[in-house]
């Protein structure tokens, strides 16, 4: 047996889970799909006295749409999101980014909330949540609060979650709502050495057009480009009220990676990641605009 010993808890309600977290705080770790946590335990990169398995909590699964918001409960599997017509219609970017996570066997067990709470900077869904201005619902024994995506990701594998808090749901603004109107487009692209590997660099983009065809709102998220998923605010702002031509997109791509300091490692140099990142932004923006323009 490779992981260090731990005490196993399998609560069946959120109330029981947060009570266990309140009791054990940083000696405990919630176990969602386990597709990142179990390898880390097996390699002894980390160890916990207590694991709180969330898989038997029925109220943490499912997808609901209400008033322009799609709510994905934290333990909804990536497989379910990938194949759900409701998700594809309401939050196309989420549906399109999910197949890039690992392999289908990983997505069968991996969960949306587990992926986001793990906060790997090379992962797809954190960038999606950032670009769309999703909100994270967080519960603890003393109540619940909502954290905007822009405040959730603190560093590599580090989020705004306190040790006694549990991510319970993610609220995404749905297509056709106030943020992303009917004339919107979405795209995701990444570069990985092999299918299913972590991306060396990747980008997601959402654009919404106004009545005259200019960009009303843009969201650009980058992953694999730093210690956290990054939002390209300057590039987004430069797009508003414009209708960029294909020639303008390369400039937006360069602007999107300005000031980013991606890692330099055996897989790719920082310069390569920046260059590829700029190009990926150019491509996802082009494709999202094409879709929005119809």
């Amino acid at each position: 047996m490779k992981p260090a010993p731990f005490e196993y808890h399998a609560p069946t309600s959120v109330a029981d889970a947060v009570a266990l977290l309140a009791e054990h705080t940083d000696e405990a770790k919630p176990l969602a799909g386990g597709q990142s946590l179990v390898p880390m335990l097996a390699l002894r990169l980390t160890r916990f006295e207590h694991l709180i398995d969330l898989n038997r909590i029925g109220e943490l699964r499912g997808v609901t749409r209400e008033d322009g918001t799609l709510t994905v409960k934290a333990m909804t599997s990536q497989r379910e999101v990938e194949h759900s017509p409701e998700v594809a219609a309401a939050v196309p970017l989420l549906a399109r980014a999910t197949p890039y996570i690992g392999h289908f066997q990983i997505r069968n067990r991996g969960t949306v909330g587990g992926n986001l709470a793990h906060a790997d900077p090379a992962s797809e869904l954190p960038a999606v949540a950032l670009a769309l201005d999703a909100e994270f619902e967080v519960a603890s024994a003393s109540g619940s609060r909502r954290v905007p995506a822009s405040e959730f990701f603190i560093g590599t594998w580090t989020t705004a979650l306190e040790s006694e808090e549990l991510l319970t749901a993610i609220h995404f603004p749905a297509l056709g709502g106030a943020a992303w109107g009917d004339r919107s487009g979405f795209a995701v692209e990444e570069i990985a050495r092999r299918s299913g590997d972590f991306a060396l660099a990747g980008a997601v983009c959402a654009v919404a057009l106004d009545g005259s065809g200019n960009i009303a709102r843009a969201g650009i998220g980058l992953f694999g480009m730093g210690a956290t998923p990054e939002r390209a605010r300057a590039a987004e702002e430069s797009l508003v009220a414009r209708s960029p031509s294909a020639d303008d997109l390369a400039e937006i791509g360069r602007l999107a990676v300005e000031g980013l300091a991606p890692t330099d490692d055996i897989h790719a140099s920082a310069a390569y990641r920046r260059r590829v990142g700029a190009y990926l932004v150019q491509r996802v923006l082009g494709r999202a605009l094409e879709e929005a323009r119809g």
Binding site: M1, K2, P3, A4, P5, F6, E7, Y8, A10, G34, Q35, V38, P39, L41, A42, L43, L51, D53, N55, R79, G102, H103, F104, Q105, I106, N108, R109, R194, S195, G196
Partner: protein
């Protein structure tokens, strides 16, 4: 000695019971406690796919699940995937016909993954087959024979005739 958890699961149609520490993976439990050694362990951290089994109808890596999490689950391993009389199922037969294996270490994981894939997508394109196989590593075949096997299995499962393995698939 850490506490032992009682685990009861339906494995290959049979009700099986065992006891394991919480940190024991489902893969180790299948192999060591239930003597189902057809499930192989390559990397033990979710990369190679050799340990793939069905849990409650979906293919998962049994090294990335603790046995205690499978209490009450329905599990199918490589031992339970073929016909009960010991003959080869259509996916197994296709791997044999198309040289989809050499040393055979990765094969149980491939067979389970291909069963899951063809159940979801009975008429896959070449690109879809390659994508579906990307979660299983094989160090012998160079994958061409495996891809040919998936194509043959898809045809057999659809009730059609077997297609011959392409010439390039025999090394």
């Amino acid at each position: 000695m850490a506490a032992l958890h009682e685990i009861t699961a339906t494995v290959n149609g049979e009700r099986r019971r065992g006891h394991a520490e919480a940190r024991k993976t489902l893969a180790d439990f299948l192999r060591e406690d239930l003597a189902l050694t057809g499930t192989h362990l390559g990397c033990e951290h979710g990369v190679c796919g050799a340990c793939t089994v069905f849990v409650d109808g979906v293919a998962v890596r049994s090294c990335l699940m603790f046995a205690v999490q499978a209490d009450g689950a329905e599990i199918t391993t490589i031992e339970g995937i073929g016909p009960a009389d010991g003959t080869l199922g259509p996916v197994q037969q296709a791997f044999r016909d198309c040289h989809g294996l050499q040393c055979g270490f990765c094969t149980p994981g491939f067979i389970v993954s291909v069963h899951a894939f063809l159940a979801d997508n009975p008429q896959p394109s070449d690109a879809e087959i390659r994508e579906a196989l990307s979660g299983n590593l094989c160090r012998c075949t160079g994958y061409q024979g495996i891809i040919a096997a998936v194509k043959q299995a898809a045809v057999t499962l659809a009730g059609g005739e077997k297609v011959a393995a392409p010439a390039g698939a025999t090394h």
